[in-house]
Every structure is written in structure tokens, then in C-alpha cells.
Symmetry: C2
Subunit: 362 residues, 2 copies
Amino acid sequence: MPTLHAVIMAGGSGTRFWPASRKKRPKQFLPLAGGLTLIEATVQRLAPLCAPENIWIVTNPVQARALPKVMPSFPRHQIMVEPEARDTAPCVALATATIAAKDPEATMVLLPADHLITPITAFTTMLQRAVQIASDQKTLVTFGITPDHPATGYGYIECGQPLDASEPQAMAAVRFREKPDLETAKQFVAAGNFLWNSGIFVWSIPAIRDAMNVGNPDLGKAALAMLNALLQNKPAAVRRAFRAAPKTSIDYAVMERARSVAVVRANVQWDDIGSFPALTAVGTTDDHGNTAVLRGGARSVACESNGNILYAEGKRTIAVFGVTDLVVVAVGDAVMVCPKDRAGDLKTLVRRVEQDGFADLL
Amino acid sequence: MPTLHAVIMAGGSGTRFWPASRKKRPKQFLPLAGGLTLIEATVQRLAPLCAPENIWIVTNPVQARALPKVMPSFPRHQIMVEPEARDTAPCVALATATIAAKDPEATMVLLPADHLITPITAFTTMLQRAVQIASDQKTLVTFGITPDHPATGYGYIECGQPLDASEPQAMAAVRFREKPDLETAKQFVAAGNFLWNSGIFVWSIPAIRDAMNVGNPDLGKAALAMLNALLQNKPAAVRRAFRAAPKTSIDYAVMERARSVAVVRANVQWDDIGSFPALTAVGTTDDHGNTAVLRGGARSVACESNGNILYAEGKRTIAVFGVTDLVVVAVGDAVMVCPKDRAGDLKTLVRRVEQDGFADLL
């Protein structure tokens, strides 16, 4: 069986959890997985499958510098740095080239750093199966999550026939559908053969290289240029090739155009923790629906209050009185208050904070 | 003209401004008067009238210990300490005895530490006139504020005829009325001859001693016992006499029963800053009605928000997004959020904070 490498994509900008998250401290660096940061939990989740030297993180320069503070034991040479933000396709090309330079026949799992997935054992079993499919059948494999509501914030995968009648969880992926409107999302959920696109992919290096060449030849060329530059140990040429790669998503450039994609239905609890209200999956919720996520000695008091999200770090206390469905965050030098139903639009506030000349807070 | 002494009453418990105010840092210690604390502003307001050695502060033991940190230059021997909380009457008895021991014919002004009064010149003029009336006529003098709305949170003074036709601002006080219900308050305001009781009093030492003996003989006896103990330099006996004094208010025990009370209509801006929403009189208000009171480098951002009160001290920023009519406070180790219309009931939250075992925050 080919060697398995895992590439953790950790490039988020961190506005949706401001001021808990900052430019130097994106969501994946927040301690939302029990006592661990999300990225630590992601690495831990891979440990049963991957040798430590085969776990990679790909991120932007700012977070690459911040990472050793969050995960001091993670080897720095296993951090790949994207020279600029160009969506996910160039990032996958860089990851593919980096692994191909070491192990051209490897199988690779690509996954986001900031998702919450439990239990680990189910995830491990599922990932092992995906790795087997990817290496046996030279197909691209995605993980699909069974929708529990018609979410408009996720992409969907339309599933076809099972690859094998004895294993209904592994199916052909018929089509990728971008984030739908609510009506379409309802139809997807009613149809029963649509899964959420988890953003977790498994493929062999030869298969993804083929798929890039087919789906977006410029991307394939960029990946090849990066590989050649890496083999010649020319980091400036790697960066140049990255910058020349088409700025697009891997879903659009490759997955939607690939000859053969399989989808594995994931029997796990999965949450991409998109914004503060999702912290109900992480925190402690009282009888009045107030969820507290408290780290580093923080405390909270909710008096005559309902349905609030309280997030604090360090030796501070959040006390709310007579309020409903608010998000209250106290981290470092900033306090943020907004209604839960505006939390998804926090970038508007972040933009305003910057306009007001307080970019030091971002 | 007799010497003028001023006694600043500084005994508030500080729950209505929690967590800006704490047990050791009541409202009068908050920097709400420009850059000054309210108590500093009160002392400053008295400077044109009173020699520095004749300005006194009467307070509880906890605040007496904290006071030198807030006002390092205030002489410690001019701080009178109430051995326990027994409402205002024993406090006035102690103040009267302390001044009588030094200067039995003095005139005395008694005023709260935590009110905001501007402009100083008008206040000075008014106080000079009150002092003159108090020393000429051996009457008790109060200051009344012209109501601008039917407040239910203040006591009212029913005014009678002017003492002198040439000076309509100085009138006989016919009756003291406790905090009324709204209907009664409306009648008071409509009647036109009702003023708010500002809690500022001026009297000569002989006049207040007489009035205590008439209104509440036990209070008069306690004041005499305190005076004798002070003259014999027996602090334990002073404390004993204080504890034996009737636990009641000076309004009820003396003012409402006195033979002769005058009221001076005060042409000043007066605010007792009863709770957070009153900070509109102190802070900076933006076009959307958001009032910010920021001290020690604090900052605020209000985005798509209206009518909020934001109070912060130190190097921290409060950012609100999409919220209306909230109070958000960030001071020291605590953040508090409540609707403006619940801010008057903050003691409910404070009680809960204590019940939850966080008395260290009070």
C-alpha cells in the first residue's frame, strides 16, 4: 500500500471569530476542541493513520510565523507556505508537488484545519476506506456529510450509484453543486442523494496530477513547475510558479471536471464551526440556552438571559443581564457584542474596525 | 461670618455601576467628571468657598482605606469613618459632632460625593447665598432642582412663599415628599412649586443640633455623645455612640420635622448619575445615539448600532455590531452587558454574581 501523507489546509482569514481570532490567530488556532486548538485536534485525528513526518500544514506567511507558538513541536520543514492568497487550487498544486518530490506514488489526504470531527475512531475507519479506494481505483475521493437541514452555507455533492453494492457508503459522485439558495437546498435534502461537501479529499499523487492536467491544464503546468523547482531546490522558482497558477478553487478547477470522483458518506459528527453561534457544539450550555466557552480561567454569569453565546479567554468574567440571543466575546484587548443572527456578517464589523483606524486589533 | 465647613458624604455601595464600580471603588471614585473622579470634582467645586482644612469626607471603612489611592493629597485626618452603615442620620450626627468639636458656631454644607453639577460659578454663587441664609436665619437650607420630567427616582420638596419678595429663588420649604409614583410625580411637576431634593443641605451647627433634638431626640443624644467623646479623644466611645444612633435617614428624622426649612432653587445642571444610562451627560455621543465613556486609552467602535452606552477603562476596545439600547462595560477583569432599561436593576445581577461564588468581582 502506498505511503499516506496528510495536508492540513490552514489559511483562513479569521474575521468570523473576531476578536477571538485575529490575523495572526485564525480560527484554527482557537482552543475550541476541548483544551486543544482546532489545528492540534486535526493533527491528533491523523495520528492513527499517518507517520508524523508525513503530516503537513499549508498556510500563509503570517500564520506560518505564528504556528510554532501554537504548536511548538510541529516540525517547521513540514509547513508549506503559500506566497500569496490564490484560493485553493494553487495550494493543492503546491501540496501535490511537495509530496510528489518526496514520494511520487503516495496517497494524500487534504483536509481543513478548522473543522470539528468526532469520534476519532469513526473518522479513522472512514479515512482508511477512502485511502483504499483512492489507491485501488485511481479515483479522487471526497467525504460527504449527511445534511440535517437545508444549509445554504455549504456546497453539496450529488451522489450516484454505490461503487460496490455491498458497500452503500461509497458512491460515485455525479456532480458538485455550489452553495445553493434555500429552495434548492430544500430540494437537495428532500431528494436524499445529496451530501454536504466536507472539503476533505483523498487521492493518489498520480490521480490528482492527472485530474489537474485534465480539469485545468494551466494548473497542471504550475504544479509540474513547482515540482521541478522543488527537485532542483529553487524556492524562488516555486514561489514564481505558485504566483503563476490560476487563482481558482480546487472544486471548480478539478473536482467538478474530473473523470472519476467517489464520495464516502461520513458517519461522523462534523462541524465547520462557521461562526460564533456554532460554538453550541463546543461549549457548556445552561438551562436557559446560554453557551459559555471559557478558557484560561475565564468565567461567566448569565442572569435573566437566554440563548446567548459567551466566549472569553484569560482571567476575565463576562456577565450578562436581561439579554437574549447575543454573542459576547472578551479576548485580549477587545470586547465584541452582536446579535447571534448577525454573527455570520462579522466581516462588516471587522471592516469598520479597520476603517476607524484600529487595524492593530485585527 | 462663621467659618464654613463642607462634609462630603461618600458611602454608596457601588452596585449600580458594576463592574466599573466595585466595593472598593464606588461611583464617586469613577472618572466621570471629565478626567476627574466625581469625588475629586466635588472637592474642587468647594474650593472657592471652603478652606482646604475645612473640607471633610465621611465614608465607610472600606472606602476610607481606598480613598488615599484615589486622592493621595486629601488629608487623612479629614476623613470621618462610619463604623457601620446606618443610613444618613447617624452620619450627619457624626459630621455635626466632628465639626462642633472644632468650631461650635460653624456653618456646614452637607453634600453627596457622586453628583455632577455644572457650572461651578453658579453653584458657588448659590451656595454662598444658602450659607448666608443658614447663618442669618438659623434655618436649615436645602437645594432644590427644577424638575424637567416627572421623575419617580427622586424625593420632591414642596415650596412655599419666597423668604423675601426680592429674591424668588429662596423659599420656605413646606413639605418633603418621598419618591412618588408616576401619577403623583406628574401632579408635582404640573403644580410648578415642587423641586427635586438634591440632597445638598446647608445649616449652622447650632441649628442642626436643635433640629436633631426636636425631630428625633435619640439622634440628638447620639450626636451629643459623639461630641463629648470627640472632645475627650475617645474614638471607641464615638463609635459606640454612632452604633447607638437611630438607623434612619436625615430627611425623615430631621428635615421633615424641622420648624424652619428654606429651599434655594438651584440654577445649575445637576445629575446624580443614578445608573449607566445617565452617562449620556458625561460621555461622547455619536450620530446614532451611542454614548462612549472611555478612559485610560480605551476605544470603541459602534457599527450598525444605536443608542448604546459603552464604558471602558484601560487599553481595551469595545466593539458593538447590530445592537440597540444596550449597556456594555469593560473594566478590569469584568465585562457586563445589559439592556439600558434594565440598568437600574443591576443589583439583581450583582446579587447573582455573588451567589455564583464570584464575590471577588464585587
